[in-house]
Assembly symmetry: C2
Homo-oligomer: 322 residues x 2
């Protein structure tokens, strides 16, 4: 495959163009739960072969393709969580790769939720694997080809520089874990270090790491993961990192609503990607869609849930930012 | 594959039995750098096919198999760094998987250096992928089958519980990143939170997380990654986490010597695994082995470097702990 041209726009400019086009800042998390994948898809691959990991990986790819076809008119972004692919070994990772390729063909932006981190020489390998390329003799290959990934800051600046530099080179993005959505996220992230909380210090660094990667719209290719489940922290972090695009998990299944995420955005109505995974993918299994649609009509349920989420966020943005 | 029996010993008991048998606490880091893999191995797979990722993945597997055959008489542990396999996409991950399987056949203990971390439901998928198993209808599959993995603590206790519980269930181990070996590790890890440094607080938690996983020899299946490059911190951390097995990177290429790692051990001469990667795998390319052996004699260089490392650590332990 050819090297991606450096002439592309900054990642956030690509992102904002897309968000405006479909008027949607929603990312659908492609988190395959085998038990929740509709039977109609599984039946295409039965009877179950002895190669269970192969079977499962094929089922997931078919599900993802059908989901991508279904959601592509309404959203710009998918966020596959690589853990749910690693669960099925290298065959699962093959499905992760093919899912990214298919989504790219459909014009979607792909955020690989990989939360990688390591010492510098190793971080460079991760960066090239996920958002860069690898040179093998005279051939350049793109191992995964995501547009952006999530990264963990615990190891410090030198561990993040390879990701930042690779993102700059290939016009990709990264999202640094600043304040995560899980119940215990405060255990270390909220520790007071002098007068600031650890996650506020990480936020200041994230802002600084992004200084050299600002696009035409004023947003940096170095973004931040900030959980929708902590609206108070969200508003503080929005001020510390005005140029960072926020990737916001926790909407839907984890309990956050459109009201909670108001603080994620800047006054331009931009600055945040709101992710929902299970509440969209498996809408057929949860209220109110469960009662209206069954598993047989899972596509209608997913589409209805997605349209509702888009509308709820648009309404919130309209009320708040006009 | 059958579920691993719960009747096996605690991970650290398995580990200590192995360490005593070969009198070696060295882990060889299987970090493939394509450009450093000897030509004799690459030539087996030339001419280069168009499928460069396939070619590279096969070269790496062949190299790993030859390395494992070479080192198995002298060491008990290998530590493949998954980033260097992800660099070659899903085919690289297939090689990672096959490397683990081959090493297990040769009786080695495998620590997957994956540094995974995520919110609880996702962490569970990572844990099952790397040190557990996955149920697919009536079949149980083992996706990767490592004996232990490294994990990142930034997300807090609930993000680590799935790893701890999976390790307990399958008699596996985890190593929590406490103080990493890279130059900027202090940026966040050394921040003062009240009277303690962040990594000391993480160390206290790691000690607590390991309380329910203590083996017959007094060591916990919840260990810690502590860089050999910070000997002062090492001695403090040894006291905070007396029951934690330390996984110690930084020996060799990163500059630490046998003297620096003295503090990793308890008075029983146990408690630490010392990792070296490039300085062993590619010993043919560095002094003093470079001058004595060339690339043609890479196996002699690797063996000599490994025997020297074993001896240096044995001598240090003998002088220090008798």
């Amino acid at each position: 495959m050819p090297v991606i041209s450096d002439s592309r726009e900054n990642f956030t400019d690509q992102l904002i163009t897309a968000i405006r086009k479909k008027n949607s800042c929603v990312a659908v998390g492609l988190d395959p739960y085998l038990t929740l994948i509709p039977d109609t898809i599984k039946q295409k691959f039965s009877p179950l072969s002895k190669e269970s990991l192969e079977y499962t990986s094929r089922v997931i790819l078919e599900f993802n393709i059908q989901v991508i076809d279904l959601i592509a008119p309404f959203v710009n972004i998918i966020k596959p969580q690589i853990a749910f692919y690693e669960l099925y070994g290298w065959r699962g990772i093959r499905t992760y790769t093919e899912t990214i390729r298919y989504a790219k063909q459909k014009g979607l932006i792909v955020i690989g939720d990989v939360k990688r981190s390591d010492v510098p020489s190793t971080a460079e390998a991760y960066a090239n694997a996920h958002i860069g390329d690898v040179r093998i003799d005279h051939v350049t290959e793109i191992p995964f080809g995501a547009d952006a990934i999530t990264v963990n800051p615990y190891l410090g600046t030198d561990s993040l520089l390879p990701f930042i530099q690779t993102a700059q080179k290939h016009k990709k993005g990264i999202f640094v874990l600043v304040k995560t959505s899980n119940p215990d996220s405060g255990e270390f992230q909220d520790l007071l270090c002098g007068e600031k909380k650890l996650h506020e210090i990480v936020a200041e660094k994230t802002h600084a790491w992004g200084n050299d990667s600002i696009g035409k719209q004023g947003y940096s290719a170095v973004g931040a993961v900030v959980g929708a489940t902590y609206p108070h922290e969200l508003s503080i972090l929005r001020r510390i990192m005005p140029a960072a695009y926020f990737l916001v998990p926790g909407y839907g299944t984890q309990g956050a609503t459109a009201k909670d995420i108001g603080y994620c955005f800047n006054r331009d109505g931009l600055g945040a990607i709101i992710n929902a995974s299970r509440s969209i993918l498996y809408a057929y299994a949860v209220s109110p869609w469960k009662e209206k649609y069954g598993m047989q009509s899972w596509k209608d349920a997913t589409q209805a849930a997605l349209i509702k989420m888009n509308e709820d966020i648009r309404n919130m943005l309209k009320v708040t930012y006009g």
